[in-house]
Symmetry: C2
Subunit: 210 residues, 2 copies
């Protein structure tokens, strides 16, 4: 679906119909989302089970009213780390692009609930590839039509797994669930974050090697 | 140091002095280990502190007498998953290469204690790049002079973080430490595994993007 949208935007822009986002380089455009069979092997490898899906869905109800507070925490962390805030700065003056930060923040909130829905179907797999592109130079800045730093270094995608699963815990615990339930939800989030980062890494890795 | 050793082996082999490992492709050979300054930013990003180093070192004493049992668990997991055992199979007949498995197992045991030493200096950083190469087609099979599958798919490097930190816990708990101490050691292992996988991923990622 995303590929189709991108192609449509590309065709429209080359025929002068609208000032669309730039198309990604051909090699990134050629990437295919992971198949359901491949994703099943990945879930098996990282011990992701139906219990994790249930724990994620339980976390969705708990997090639903707290995504603004959660994003305050996460943006606070990014803002406190200049080497991370860097990826939201303009190439022109090196200053953070506030409109870009605000737009990403809204999508980040939606992503929390989308991940917690644990509905990892073909549309979700295709969306993760698109989200990966938006971190990589093949697609970054395009959605928000900004002139920010061109690429988020790969290394920070896996690294951010740790602060995300660490700082989400107080929000998971905020509605009075037992320690055991909070543990299960946090562990399901760890697995979901690892799965997500693998899929987002695809544009960074040679297709032969991925 | 590793680069020097590789170059020496290459020169020796091209002058017929010994039947050495094949040199890696030029582009992989050009990679530089992560600098200490870059690694500090990575540690900061994933909340790795001196407390984690202490917890890893505490785990080292606990794991020291258990690495054979731990490797039984890990190899049992790999052996039970044909899509993982695949990377240890010969290209010729598709069968697992037992000598290759045995050689990797010995190094895997040493790696456990090396990681737990938490001495993440320049030599360790250089070694992680070399270990990354041994998973990637630029260096796989060379150390053991085997004719196995040419590349471990990138996706399984992050994925294996989860079974490793999950299955190590009973070994961390085997010497009667408190739940709090075991939690701290397991969390330090999670962070060490994420750090390690990032460094091992370097040969898979375009240097501009890494």
């Amino acid at each position: 679906m995303f590929r189709l949208l991108l192609r449509t935007a590309f065709l429209a822009s080359t025929t002068g119909m609208l000032v669309a986002d730039l198309p990604p380089p051909a090699d990134a455009e050629e990437l295919q989302p992971m198949s359901a069979a491949e994703f099943d092997l990945l879930k098996k490898t990282l011990l992701y089970t139906e219990d994790d899906a249930k724990a994620l869905r339980a976390s969705r109800e708990i997090l639903a009213g707290q995504t603004d507070a959660l994003l305050d925490t996460w943006y606070g962390f990014v803002g406190a780390n200049p080497h991370l805030l860097h990826f939201f700065t303009r190439k022109g003056d090196g200053k953070p692009d506030d409109a870009y930060l605000a737009a990403v923040r809204e999508r980040f909130k939606a992503w929390v609930l989308d991940t917690a829905a644990a509905d990892f179907d073909a549309a979700w797999l295709a969306k993760q590839l698109e989200l990966g592109r938006r971190h990589h130079r093949s697609g970054k800045n395009r959605t928000d039509k900004v002139d920010a730093v061109e690429n988020i270094n790969y290394r920070y995608l896996p690294a951010l797994i740790v602060p995300l699963y660490t700082t989400i815990r107080p929000y998971l615990a905020a509605k009075g669930n037992s320690e055991t339930e909070v543990d299960a939800m946090q562990e399901a989030w760890r697995k979901a974050l690892v799965l997500t980062v693998i899929l987002w890494s695809q544009p960074y890795v040679d297709p032969r090697d991925f």
